[in-house]
């Protein structure tokens, strides 16, 4: 299981980084969303993997060992929201840049032929 999980993170990261290094703004934004999936999974993994134990308490004296570590989940929630917001912003900025510079290259101009 862990190995699959780790591989998943790896693949997401790899494709994200690849897109991050592309010259087109749209590629970059897709790269960011893939990367944020990877990072979210990574953070979540820090609580180790537990199956069928959602952190919903029913008894007044629960046994912590039986439950998934809730902290990473909370962190991931915050991270999801923030990355959602910043992705939206990045989208709009890339639209604005496209509008003002007339190109969708990340540098606002096509690369000069050296």
């Amino acid at each position: 299981m862990e190995i699959v999980y780790a591989l998943a993170i790896g693949v997401l990261t790899g494709s994200g980084v690849w897109l991050l290094l592309r010259p087109r703004t749209f590629q970059v934004i897709i790269g960011f969303s893939l990367l944020s999936y990877a990072v979210n999974l990574f953070i979540f993994g820090m609580g180790r993997l537990v199956v069928h134990l959602p952190p919903i308490i029913t008894t007044l004296d629960p046994d912590p060992t039986r439950f998934d570590d809730p902290v990473p989940q909370a962190l991931v929630l915050t991270a999801i929201v923030i990355s959602f917001a910043t992705t939206a912003l990045f989208l709009v900025v890339l639209l604005a840049s496209r509008g003002l510079t007339g190109t969708d290259h990340v540098d606002g101009e096509e690369e000069p032929e050296p």
Partner: protein, 982 residues
């Protein structure tokens, strides 16, 4: 009266002068004069005390723990110098009064002048090494301002910049030197330093300290090889040259050398560094002076050479030479200042300083002529004038120098050669300008300058005569105190008399006189047209300086080219590499092995991620040419992520991830329309072969990097996943969520209570982003080619036969009617559902954020289906109010705790049981969550609506090319053309 005031007074005066109106000429002069005279009297009345006590000190603490104090310290030498500075100052102020043109804004001039005077006095009276450096740099700065006073002249600007650069560089070296000295001694206090000469001379760091200090002094005193700035500084108004370049600023360097003579001198290093530089300057300066055309040029080079003389004397390591040096500092100041004044007067009256044009002025300006003649004679070292005395002492010293034969023979010879040169240029200076046939075609009809303008020069010349005839009676005692304060116990016996009998020095002088005169006559013809200095003209300091500056610029440009980039891809690449490199430092020994049995392998999960991985890679490959496909593939990857969260018992995450996914996709879909179309075959056709090769190699590199990043993060997470988690803080939350947090859903309790502060920040981020997006899109200008409505839409409009739907129709007309009805019905339902999620959040998966997003999605549906205009004619949404309200709600929930005297965000709560929803936990926590809910709705809607509006705007723009965009730079923003504010 403490010496502090001597330094403070000029600065105060400078401030007063600065605020005077620019035409208040006489007021400025009176002020400056008063200040200068005050300084003179203040200094003078300290003399008895100095004689009796030796040293007068006042200490003002500044940064005691660093040994930084303002120590004002007057001993004999400092006193003599302070007198020189302030008396000269007074004379020059009087001179400047008549020199500067009536319309000139002199208050500014005198403000800088007084500031300089204060700085100079500060240098002289400093009792602390660092304080001395402070005032030292201040003299550089103020002199910069004075030289560049007529800054509309290029030469003034260049001269000033050169002077500043050279002297400031020297100042920095001096600072370093002083720091080392202070470190060796263990204190920056001058008295302590002066007391520990042997300690310094024996320290291994003596040589570096000496070199650094020497650099400071030599640059300031325009010594070879830093002499070149001084002639260019002649672009300053003549009063400035009189003051700075004869009496004070250039003397600061030699002052420092004398000041530190007790601790630094007496070694071979000192002899060679200081002595050599002085000797070269001495001869070179005198030689160059012969060939100048400009009167001030002659004086400038002669100043350089006389400073060289002083430096050489100091370098000789003999106490008598030191006395001679101090004596010559005074003498040179007097005759050189009066000569500069004379040059200024000639310039002032005739309108030129060109030696080749001037001639026979004695008819028109007899008094000026006499004064100039006496002063020049003193400069040439004619007997019965003070210049003669110090020159004789110098000759004597050169004879008595010990050491290698070369020095024993060479020094006197060079001294005589110097004497010859100085006689030659002095003669030329006088005969050329004042004698011979009366000059023709002068810019102005020459006549005697006003009496008050002559007075300062006259006084100085008088000083030359008196000192020259009765040295022992006039300057003697002061010189004695000064020398004694430097030499202390090692004070030699010497005699200040005019007639030492017929001895070698006198012979040398006579030789110099005769040969010098001969040289002048010999050169007479040559000099007429000569503007260049033969032999050494190639070594032009200025050209070297500018060459150096240009090289510096080139170096900077080179650094910028190699150390920085503007391209984003490179920057991101560097960031990734940096992370990898630095993470490798602790990990280079390899990752720790797992110590925990992994959970059982489930094929379904593997399958899920097989698909997920495929989606991710697909998105990566498709993103350039098939945006829609890429988007949906990325969505697939997101879906896989969400399902993973479900799998590993994190329903909240799954829910949130899902909803966020939806909204993000909608967002990007709305944005896609504005991106330029991109087709593979076109790009391939465009790219040249070279470009394609480059692109391929870059792709390979990125691919490698991407795989490295992926593999390493995978390994990292695997390492963590297979290790037993230590006992962290998590147990606390599970144990206390229900009893203390009052919620069964630990995640939500953490979000809104345990770590509510995070959530507060998080929603603020969302709000900020929404506002930014709104502000941005309000001024957004789509690219012209994407203005046209897309083909699908045009096609559809053609079908329905209407461009824009009618806002007031009860339902969106055309094919959208049925879905329109549905979404209108959906809205209230969605509202219910969202509120339900909001309320149950505390115990079941859900919460404000999810609820808010659901509601937002419902609202967006209205837009999607009905079109912007129609939707807004239905509901008036003011998203930014929602944002504000949401933030206030959350903050209020936090602040409400203060009422119960509990810290921010403490929950106050009570339980209720309601039908349908079940057991309800009402509390400020809920209020907080409500805030989240509002804010999320507001922000999401604001963003999406702002995006949605672009299409409307675009149409309007393309219809009538709308008003020009406001340029960047803060002119009022255009009002929203169809902003959600309505």
């Amino acid at each position: 009266m403490s010496p502090v005031w001597i330094v403070i007074l000029p600065f105060v005066g400078s401030l007063c002068a600065a605020v005077l109106p620019s035409h208040a000429r006489n007021a400025a002069v009176w002020l400056a004069g008063a200040v200068a005279l005050a300084c003179v009297t203040l200094t003078f009345q300290l003399y008895p005390q100095v004689v009796s006590e030796g040293v007068v000190r006042t200490v003002l603490p500044w940064v005691p723990e660093l040994g930084l104090d303002f120590t004002f310290r007057v001993d004999g030498f400092a006193w003599l110098f302070a007198m020189l500075v302030s008396v000269m100052g007074a004379l020059v102020i009087l001179y400047a009064r008549y020199y500067m043109a009536a319309q000139d804004p002199v208050p500014r001039f005198f403000a800088f002048f007084l500031a300089f005077m204060g700085a100079m006095l500060g240098v002289v009276l400093s009792g602390n090494l660092i304080q001395l450096v402070v005032f030292w740099e201040l003299t550089s700065l103020t002199s910069f301002m004075l030289i560049a006073y007529w800054y509309h002249r290029v030469d003034a600007r260049r001269g000033a910049r050169m002077a500043l650069t050279v002297t400031a560089a020297g100042g920095l070296c001096l600072l370093a030197g002083m720091l080392i000295l202070g470190h060796i001694v263990g204190s920056y206090d001058l008295d302590v330093v002066l007391a520990s000469g042997d300690l310094i001379r024996t320290d291994v760091w003596y040589l570096p300290a000496l070199v650094l200090v020497a650099l400071g002094a030599l640059t300031k005193s325009a010594q070879f090889p830093f002499h070149f700035w001084l002639p260019h500084a002649m672009a300053a108004p003549t009063p400035v040259s009189v003051y700075l370049h004869s009496a004070t600023m250039v003397k600061a360097g030699v002052f420092l050398l004398v000041r530190l003579w007790p601790v630094l001198a007496g070694t071979q290093a000192w002899f060679w560094i200081i002595g050599t530089s002085g000797l070269i300057t001495l001869v070179l300066g005198a030689y160059a002076a012969i060939f100048q055309r400009d009167m001030k040029g002659v004086l400038a080079y002669s100043t350089i050479s006389h400073l060289g003389l002083i430096t050489l004397l100091l370098g000789l390591n003999s106490s008598l030479a030191l006395i001679a040096a101090i004596f010559h500092i005074m003498n040179h100041a007097t005759f050189k200042a009066s000569l500069f004044m004379a040059a200024g007067m000639v310039d002032h009256e005739t309108g030129t300083r060109d030696l080749t044009r001037l001639s026979g002025l004695y008819r028109a300006m007899p008094i000026t002529t006499t004064l100039a003649m006496v002063a020049a004679a003193s400069m040439a070292g004619v007997p019965l004038l003070n210049g003669f005395l110090s020159k004789e002492m110098f000759f004597a010293e050169t004879i008595f120098v010990s050491g290698h034969a070369v020095t024993r023979i060479g020094l006197p010879v060079l001294a005589v050669i110097w004497g010859i040169f100085s006689v030659a240029y002095s003669l030329r200076f006088i005969l050329q300008v004042f004698f011979g046939p009366p000059a023709q075609d002068l810019p102005r009809k020459p006549h005697e300058p006003p009496r008050w303008m002559l007075l300062p020069s006259a006084l100085l010349v008088l000083a030359c005569l008196v000192v020259g005839m009765f040295p022992a009676a006039t300057i003697g005692p002061f010189l004695d105190t000064a020398a004694r304060s430097v030499l202390g116990a090692y004070m030699p016996s010497y005699s200040l008399v005019v007639w030492h009998g017929l001895n070698l020095p006198l012979v040398m002088s006579l030789v110099a006189m005769v040969v010098g005169t001969g040289l002048y006559l010999a050169l007479g013809k040559y000099q007429q047209g000569a503007a260049v200095v033969p032999l050494i003209n190639r070594f032009d300091g200025r050209r070297l300086f500018e060459f150096a500056i240009q090289k510096l610029d080139a170096l900077a440009a080179w650094l910028m080219r190699w150390l920085s980039t503007e391209r984003l891809q490179v920057q991101l690449l560097l960031l990734i590499c940096a992370v990898f490199a630095i993470a490798l430092v602790p990990l280079h020994k390899g990752l720790p092995a797992g110590n925990m049995a992994g959970s059982a392998f489930q094929p379904a999960f593997a399958l899920l991620w097989l698909v997920g991985a495929a989606c991710a890679v697909g998105a990566a490959t498709q993103a350039k040419y098939h945006r829609l496909a890429a988007l949906s593939l990325a969505g697939g990857a997101g879906l896989a992520t969400a399902m993973t969260f479900v799998w590993f018992s994190a329903p909240d995450l799954a829910l949130t991830q899902l909803v966020v996914e939806v909204v993000t996709v909608v967002l990007i879909l709305l944005g896609l329309r504005w991106l330029p179309p991109r087709y593979a075959w076109i790009d391939d056709a465009l790219d040249s072969f070279g470009a394609r090769v480059r692109a391929r190699s870059r792709r390979l590199r990125d691919l490698a990097l991407a795989s490295i990043a992926g593999v390493s993060l995978a390994m990292l997470s695997y390492a963590v996943l297979t290790r037993q988690a230590g006992k962290g803080i998590s147990h606390f939350f599970i144990e206390n969520s229900l009893p203390l947090g009052g919620g069964a859903n630990v995640i939500n309790v953490i979000l809104v209570d345990f770590r509510g502060f995070d959530t507060l920040g998080e929603i603020t981020v969302v709000g900020i982003v929404a506002l930014t997006v709104f502000a941005l899109l309000r001024r957004f200008r789509p690219a012209p080619e994407s203005m046209e409505p897309p083909p699908q839409q045009r096609e559809q409009d053609a079908q329905t036969g209407m461009a824009a739907p009618d806002p007031h129709a009860p339902l969106p007309p055309g094919p959208m009617m049925v879905p329109g009805t549905l979404v209108q019905l959906l809205l209230p339902v969605a509202g219910m559902v969202s509120v339900f999620f909001l309320l149950r959040g505390h115990n079941e998966p859900g919460g404000g954020f999810v609820g808010g997003l659901i509601m937002a999605t419902a609202i967006i549906l209205q837009y999607l289906v009905g079109g912007t205009a129609w939707a807004e004619s239905r509901t008036r949404i003011r998203p930014q109010y929602w944002i504000g309200a949401g933030l206030l709600c959350a903050a209020g929930a936090g602040i409400s705790a203060w009422v119960a005297t509990r810290p921010f965000l403490s929950a106050l709560a009570w339980h209720e049981t309601l039908p349908v929803i079940g057991e309800l936990h009402l509390s400020t926590v809920l209020l907080f969550d409500l805030g989240v809910y509002f804010l999320v709705i507001g922000s999401t809607v604001l963003i999406l609506v702002a995006l949605a509006h672009q299409s409307l705007r675009a149409h309007r723009k393309s219809a009538a090319q709308a008003r020009p965009e406001a340029a960047a730079g803060g002119v009022a923003a255009l009002p929203a053309q169809a902003g959600p504010e309505g």
